[in-house]
């Protein structure tokens, strides 16, 4: 599978998971910060992707 969006999503999931476990101690807080980080990863990637769209390599 070579979908960039798919692997980006998988990467964001794992990194958010590990950081959430490292930064918070209660499951509720871990879920909250993990979800927030995951959403931020995806949003930043999509926004930056569209911003770079007009520029040639």
């Amino acid at each position: 599978m070579t979908s960039h969006l798919f692997w980006l999503t998988v990467f964001a999931f794992f990194v958010s998971l590990v950081f959430a476990m490292l930064l918070r101690d209660t499951p509720r807080e871990q879920l909250r910060i993990g979800a927030l980080m995951f959403a931020a990863f995806l949003a930043a990637a999509l926004v930056l992707g569209w911003l770079m769209f007009p520029f040639p390599l």
Binding site: T2, F11, R24
Partner: protein, 141 residues
């Protein structure tokens, strides 16, 4: 307000175990590096340990699956050497992959850079996990 929030999170967390001696802390760090999550399991942090035990090797395995490369320790090329140090961060899985002859890297694969990113980040995250285990072993968390 922020200080109050932090305080309440601390009280809700598992109580910190008494600080260990230097050898004990060094052993926790070594175990934590060799097997991601094992240091936390050793310290009684089961949930965190299990997540690290599964997530970090999974990232490393995905990196190999995507055709990523385990970089050589080429000190004449500092960035390559730093990537090698990061790869090494995942501990025993790095040696297992080397022993199995994996991690040669498929430069022509569309997912090559993704593979490298997974491999490098898995190692770097395990360094952070090791530092977290170090703090717990000292009784700071």
């Amino acid at each position: 307000m922020a200080a109050g929030g932090k305080g309440s999170a601390k009280t809700a967390a598992a109580p910190a175990k008494p600080a260990r001696d230097r050898v004990g802390v060094a052993i926790v760090c070594l175990v934590s590096w060799l097997v991601p999550g094992a240091g936390h399991l050793q310290l009684g942090r089961r949930a965190k340990g299990l997540v690290f035990l599964i997530a970090l090797p999974a990232m490393f395995g995905i990196g190999l699956y995507l055709g990523g490369r385990l970089f050589p320790f080429a000190w004449s090329e500092p960035l390559v050497a730093l990537a090698a140090v990061a790869d090494l961060g995942v501990g025993v899985w790095y040696f297992a992959a080397k022993f199995a002859g994996a991690g040669g890297g498929q430069v022509v694969a569309a997912t090559y850079e993704y593979g490298n990113t997974f491999l490098i980040v898995a190692g770097l995250l395990n360094f952070l996990v090791m530092l977290d285990a170090f703090d717990i072993a000292l009784g700071r968390k």
